[in-house]
Each structure stands twice: as structure tokens, then as C-alpha cells.
Subunit: 500 residues, 2 copies
């Protein structure tokens, strides 16, 4: 096993235990760790670091690809092992500590963390922790179920700790396309013109002398937990499919559409699932994450190729994929996230982006991150990379939730992640609003007519009418603009207090 997984002889002396390896960490270090949407993350080093931090002061700045699995972020947060965290997280324990102001969080476009490291804008990396399937003869690293920022971490960190995950078969070799653009001022063209273009190598280059420890693990990725479609997500998916069909009839798109990006979560999954009963064919994805639905569509013969940075699949699909890797291998590729999410490629390929909002407002501004304008949920992730540069930017959300005490369409969003300039189509279970080519006042009426929950329609129309009476290109009654949020905070509901 050692021979197979560590093909550069002299590195075998670096094999050690997780407990031993974490003695390499020092308080105040900046650490880059593999892992993107729970895939390809460190299974033993970071948890061992959390254990060590329970007994001594040991705080790091932690940069990852995106979210980690196995509750690792929570363990680190609970052990006070995190000073600063970027660029994304989904962990309840960590989230609470961020919202309490105890841990500093930088919520960042996922394409940009690597840029900041390359441009030396953030602290130099003291350490990288990278999960790999095996180490090649030249010391280069073959990653596992995500690439994330690992290429940059391996290049820039002073020391590297490797986690070899033996649950990942050796045949994983070849599913990654490892490429980095040149640093400024010598950056060249990234020569991708279609999702299936492979432009790089199969493993991540690293100076073997930087490898300070190698630890083995046989823990698999945390599976993605995707709730099954329900009535609401099915309705949203159907609205989107009807819209695509209409665009084809109008001659805007062909039955092949354009490369799709779909955010994580139920709605995205439900939309892709809907495609199975459609006439679309030869579809492709240029996304950051691939979910079960991607591979189901491949099996159905509807999707031909998918490009992303990570595999966030269920336990069942994880097994199926790796047991039949030869069959799927030619149909997908995993790239560094600063390539999968790079603005120029998203514009060049003409990606159709589908992401989920927490709430949107009358004019189509979208909040993806902050409940009530203050409490962060997860982070912007790649939604901005895609929405801003897409051929078509679609956001979905339910019209109302929590027994309809919350309207997800509000007069003014309490936090803006995507401005109206970057939002084309809004979808709720009620209907779809096509905002392309509309001025703000037209956008507002379209949204009220098509997306709002019936319990809030009258109130939103009243707000809009009174705002228009005051005038402005983007009419608002400013002292009332955030009142739905403050009312929810005070009364537990956004509904107007009935006049007795």
C-alpha cells in the first residue's frame, strides 16, 4: 500500500500519525486546507488540530476551498482554534461564533481566494494540509474528490502535510485538470472554450522538500445530504423548464442550451431532475459542484459532460461513481476553483447560472448570505462569480417560509450580494419573473405579479404604489424599506399588524 500510494521513495520517511503531524502547527499560523463542499477535505489532521487546541492556545487563520465535512469546522470553532476563516463555511457551530463576533470570517467570491494568495495580498501561508489519493514519482499530488484551492496552497505554503485517503481508488488519476494561470503581469489566455477542454496536468506540482508529514486515513467524505424534491421545489423547477422551452421556441437558445451552473441544494437538484422529462439533449455543465442529479442526467443520456471543482454526491452515488469510474471518467473533470469559477470563462462559455437566494427585493437585488441583514448563513460562495458573468443569471427562493411568517420577497433586501444589474430571472413556487430589458419600475410590477406569496402581495403593491408617488428611478419609502425585517424581529412575523 505504501508503495502504491507514495511513489517517491524518499517521502516514505515522512509517514506519521495525525497526532504527531499536528505538533507542526504553531499559534498564529495561516493554513490552507483542501476541501470543497465537504469533498476532499482533511479527515484526520484538522480534527487532531482541534483536539490539540482544546488543551492549549493554538489559533490559526484557516483558508479552504469551501465548506468542510465531518463537522470539522465546528470542532475547530468549539476548540477556539480559529482566529480567521475564509472563504466559505456551512457549519452551525462556526456560524454562531462568527455571528457572535468571536471568529472573524471573510465571505469571499470563491474564484478570488487563490488570486489573493498569488498576489500576496493576504498573509503568506505557513502550512498546507492536502488530501490526496497518492503521491506521484515526481512528488506531485493526485487529489481526490475536489481540487479547490489546493494547487495554490501547494505552491505557496512553506510546509505541506499530506493526508492520503485510501478510500479513493488509484483510478481517480486523470479526473483532474490541474492548471494555473501565470501571475501578473504575465498572465496569459486560459485556453478553455468548451466545458470538456482539458488544458493541464493530472497532478498538483509541489516541492517534495516542503512535505513535512504524511498521514494515512480511510475515512470517506461526508456525504451530501440533499432533501428530496417537494411540491415547492418541483414547482420552481417546472417554471424554469417552461422558461427554457420558451427561449428555445423564440430562437434564443437551442435544445442543447448553454453550459449550466447549478448551486448546491434542493432546488438546483430538482431543476436538473426535471430535465429528465424534457427534449433537451447533449447538455453540459460548467459549474463549481456536481451533485447526484448530474450523474443521473448522464445515465439518462441527456447530459454529456460536466466540469466543476468538486463532487458533492450522496453515499450511494459516491460508491457508484468509484465502482464504475471508467464509465464516468470521460464525462466529467475537476478543476481548481479559480478556473471553474473564473469570470472570463463563465462569460466566454455563456453559462446559465441557477443559484438560491435567501431573499430578493422589488427591484431584483438578491441577498444570498445574511438573515435579517446581520446574521450570516453560509457565504456568497461562487454565486457571484457565476451570476455576474453568466449569459443568464437565475435566482430561486421560496415565496414564503416558517408558516408564511417570512416573505422572501421584501421591499428592500437587508443585505445585497447580487445587485439588480446581475439578476435576470427570479423564480419562486408561485411563478417566474423575467427581468431582462426591464427598467426598475417594470421589474417591480413583474415581481409582484409573478413571484410574491398571496399573503404579502397587497402589502408589497401598496409599498410600491406609495414609493412611486414619491418618485425616483428606483422608488422607495426609505423609512419603511426595512420595516418588514424589523417587524419580524419584533413580532416573529413579517405580516402587517392588523388594525383593531
Amino acid at each position: 500500500m505504501f508503495n502504491e500510494r507514495i511513489r517517491l521513495e524518499r517521502l516514505k520517511s515522512k509517514i506519521t500519525t495525525a497526532e504527531e503531524a499536528v505538533t507542526l502547527f504553531k499559534d498564529g499560523m495561516t493554513v490552507g486546507a483542501s476541501g470543497f463542499t465537504k469533498a476532499g477535505d482533511s479527515k484526520v489532521i484538522l480534527p487532531a488540530l482541534a483536539a490539540r487546541a482544546q488543551n492549549e492556545r493554538l489559533q490559526i487563520n484557516l483558508i479552504t476551498g469551501a465548506s468542510l465535512g465531518h463537522g470539522t469546522d465546528g470542532k475547530l470553532a468549539a476548540a477556539h482554534a480559529l482566529k480567521k476563516r475564509m472563504p466559505f463555511q456551512v457549519d452551525k457551530v462556526l456560524r454562531d461564533k462568527i455571528n457572535q463576533g468571536e471568529i472573524l470570517f471573510i465571505d469571499q467570491h470563491l474564484s478570488e481566494s487563490a488570486e489573493q494568495i498569488h498576489n500576496k495580498i493576504i498573509d503568506p501561508l505557513d502550512m498546507a494540509v492536502i488530501e490526496v489519493a497518492f503521491i506521484e514519482r515526481d512528488g506531485s499530488l493526485v487529489p481526490t474528490t475536489s481540487v479547490g484551492n489546493s494547487v495554490t496552497f501547494a505552491a505557496f505554503a512553506k510546509q505541506v502535510i499530506i493526508e492520503i485517503n485510501t478510500t479513493i481508488p488509484m483510478e481517480v488519476y486523470g479526473i483532474h485538470d490541474i492548471y494555473q494561470a501565470e501571475d501578473y503581469p504575465h498572465r496569459n489566455v486560459i485556453p478553455i472554450v468548451a466545458p470538456w477542454n482539458k488544458i493541464g496536468r493530472k497532478s498538483i506540482p509541489v516541492d517534495p522538500d516542503k512535505i513535512a508529514a504524511i498521514v494515512f486515513t480511510d475515512l470517506p467524505d461526508s456525504p451530501a445530504d440533499i432533501a428530496p424534491p417537494d411540491e415547492k421545489t418541483a414547482a420552481m423547477a417546472a417554471h424554469i423548464l417552461r422558461f427554457f422551452e420558451a427561449e428555445v421556441r423564440l430562437g434564443h437558445l437551442t435544445d442543447r442550451l448553454l453550459p449550466l451552473q447549478a448551486g448546491i441544494g434542493r432546488v438546483a437538484n430538482a431543476v436538473l431532475a426535471e430535465f429528465r422529462q424534457s427534449n433537451f439533449y447533449d447538455l453540459t455543465m460548467f459549474s463549481e459542484v456536481l451533485q447526484d442529479s448530474t450523474f443521473e442526467l448522464m445515465d439518462a443520456g441527456i447530459l454529456s459532460f460536466a466540469s466543476a471543482s468538486s463532487l458533492a454526491v450522496s453515499e450511494g452515488w459516491h460508491r457508484r461513481l468509484f465502482e464504475n469510474l471508467q464509465q464516468y471518467k470521460e464525462k466529467f473533470v475537476l478543476r481548481p476553483q479559480n478556473i471553474s469559477n473564473t469570470p472570463g470563462l463563465i462569460r466566454r462559455l455563456g453559462v446559465i447560472a441557477i443559484n438560491t437566494a435567501i431573499e430578493f427585493d422589488l427591484y431584483g437585488n438578491v441577498n444570498s448570505t445574511h438573515i435579517g441583514g446581520t446574521q450570516i448563513m453560509n457565504g456568497i460562495g461562487g454565486s457571484g462569480d457565476f451570476a455576474r458573468n453568466a449569459y443568464l443569471s437565475i435566482f430561486v427562493t421560496q415565496a414564503a417560509s416558517k408558516d408564511d411568517a417570512i416573505s422572501h420577497i421584501v421591499p428592500m433586501v437587508s443585505h445585497v450580494d447580487h445587485t439588480e444589474h446581475d439578476v435576470d430571472i427570479l423564480v419562486t413556487e408561485i411563478g417566474i419573473a423575467d427581468l431582462r430589458g426591464l427598467a426598475p419600475r417594470e421589474r417591480a410590477q413583474t415581481i409582484i405579479d409573478h413571484c410574491v406569496h398571496p399573503d404579502y402581495k397587497e402589502a408589497l403593491q401598496s409599498y410600491f404604489d406609495r414609493a412611486c408617488a414619491r418618485g425616483g428611478h428606483t422608488p422607495h419609502v426609505l423609512e419603511e424599506a426595512l420595516s418588514w425585517h424589523t417587524r419580524f424581529r419584533e413580532t416573529g412575523s413579517m405580516k402587517p399588524i392588523p388594525v383593531l
Copy 2:
């Protein structure tokens, strides 16, 4: 003169008067017209159209490059000749009618209007009006002081009206780089890796059979009116220069910096002027507009090359440029705005973007467009194209204005054009806040410490402290977040009402 300016014989029969040409317009038409920051706009057709519209119902949807000169937008607006207008304007009369809701305005990233036409997302163009220096033997068009969206207009409009501007010398041939990327799904790489790369032709292709009328004019562009630097703009410029010098010392940049983009206006001009007393050399610009300061820096031997979509210079510099065109010709290029502003190139080149804000908030969100959240000023222009994709995104604004009754730093901006994710550096005459690598609470304290006018510092600190006491990743006191704007609306000042 006709022979020189119309080199395709059969088109000479199309010569006519502006009054005659505008009989081609019909109510309800969608029209694309050349013109970008008052440069290269229609001098006689659109004004003649406004005159005609005074006597009859004649409303068009007007798409341009950016703003027009000669008060043309105002004349059209006053004559009720505009139904819809996009993507940018700076005219007081038009602005008022937009804010009254009489004219619909689409405020759009300047890189995206051409995309929407190519993608058939907005109404097909019935007519294009394009100012040219001359018509080539193959019928192709040699533009004047801007390229804007004219390439797309010429390709997509059913009919084209040409305005030949005889004030522009024939030697202008060669200053334009006319290139269009392929339509989806066949878009290829745009092969620019440095500002000086020329990748296209020298004239705009058009089907000569579409040319419906040709009109001559000898009216020059409206000159750019740039107020001279004052104490405040000089202070902002100095902060930015000191910052660049520090970045060079840290090894983040070299003395050549990276290609600069500077928004229109006084501050941008003042910053570039400051460079004259610096050690920077061999600078380049990759911008959308070139102002006087660009050419002054060329004369000073500090700037080697500038790329943009338009020349917005003073009368003096207009004359000087065209009288010495051979001298300057090799040092600048004008491109279509969907190339000058394209996201992928801005990221690839690593542009340093400097733009002006109306206001920004505690967390670094920027409002570029809406006074008091409702009344549009001009539009987002290219600021979003650049800020989002730049290597470094800088925004400047004065700390306070109107006898300090207005603070340009507020608890929460009343409208968001650029989210905190896309804003690196904020500058006022007070100082500079470097927000890179900072979490929201750190950003807020940095902004309070460095940018806020003394009259508002205590109030903003108090807001922030009370917000932190409530908690959240991005702390706010939501019911108070927009109170500075509502107070200004009610009392004419943002200053707290003193407790008597």
C-alpha cells in the same frame, strides 16, 4: 470632399439632409446610436429627431454607448421622444424625467448592452445612427472619437444612418481596433494579453445595402468639462499615490504598476496628474475613457500606452491630439466597449480600477448611482465591469459635502452598486482604508478610523458599537440603518438633531 469621405461610389446617392433622414424614423422604433462620454455621438440626426418629435408623436427606445454631448439627451427627453433609454446618461433634463417615472431607464454594466443585442435578449434594432470619419471602399465605417457599441449596432440594425463628421481628420484611420467575439455557443478566446495588443480591423463592417441615409456635419464633440483639482481631490490623489508607493515597497507591485482604469471626473484626473511627480514609469491604461491627464502623462514620459473605448478630452486637447495625431497614434487605441470592459480581460490584465462613489457604508458597500436610494444620478457605467474583476478596486468620494450636511460615509448605503466583496480600497480627503483581507467588523473600524469626516465620526462609531452589541457577522441596527438618509430628507442635514 465627398470622394474622400465616401469611398464606395454607390453610397453617394444616399447623401441627404438631417431633416430628410429623420423621416425614416417611426414611432416605437428601437435605435442604436454611437456616442460614449460625449465623444463620437450623432451631432445632427438625433437633434433633428428631437425637433421632429416636438410636432408629432414619435417615441423611440434609445441605446447608445454611454452619454451623449450637445444636450441631445435633454432635447430628446424634452420633446417626449424617448420611451426607454439605456445603458447610461448624464443629462439633467433626461435625469429628471427618469426620476419622475416618465422615461424608463435601464442602468446597465457598459460591457453588457452589446451582449444583450447579440443574444437577442432585447428588442431587435430597427435603426442605427453612427458617426464616422469616412466610409471605406468596401462600405465599412471608420469611426471617430469613440467606438462604443457601434460595431454591434452596425451588425444588427435593419437600417443604418451615417453621420460623416468632417472635423475628424482622415488620419484617424488606424486608431481603432475593431473586433467582435463570436456569438454563443461558438465564442472563442479574445487574444489580448496587454493593453497595446491590437487584434482586429481598422473599420466597422456593415452591409452597404442597409445604409439608408448619409448626412454630413462639421460640429465637433462637446468638450469634456473637467473642473480643476482642488484641495480635496489633491488630498485623495496623494493618499492613493502613497498607497501605490507602499505596495511597491512591499513587493506587491513594481514601479510599472499594472494597467490603470480611471473613471471620469475630477478625482481620477487629479490622481493621474499626481503621477507626474512620481517614480512610476512605463505605466499603461486599460480603461473605458481617456481624459486629458492620459495624454499629459504621455507627454511627461510616464505613461506608454492607453486602451479605451472613447476620448473624453477638453477642447484644447482635442485640437492638440488631432494636430499631432502621428505622434500619439501609436500610443493609444479605441475598442468596442464590450472589449474595453470585458470581465475576462480586466481579470487577465490585472487592472487597477479607480472609480468614484456617491457614498459608501461601514462595511464597504458602494452606491454609485442613487441619491437617497431613489433618485438616479448617472448610472453604474463601467464601474462594475472594472471593480468586480480588477486586481485592485479603489473607490473615492469626499467625506462630506454641502457644508458638511451630507456624510458620504453612512451606516448602510441606500442603494448598492458594488458589494463589499468587490471593494478593496476606500479613499476620502481624510484618508485611505485598505480593506483587503479584513472581516466586516475590521472593515468598519478601519473605515471609521481613516475615512470619515470629523463631524460624523462619533455618530458612526456609536452606531457601530450599538450594532456590535446586537451581534451578527455584519452588525446593524436595522431600524436605524437608513436614518441618516431619512433625516437628510426631513431636515436637510444628516447631522444628529441636538438634544436641547
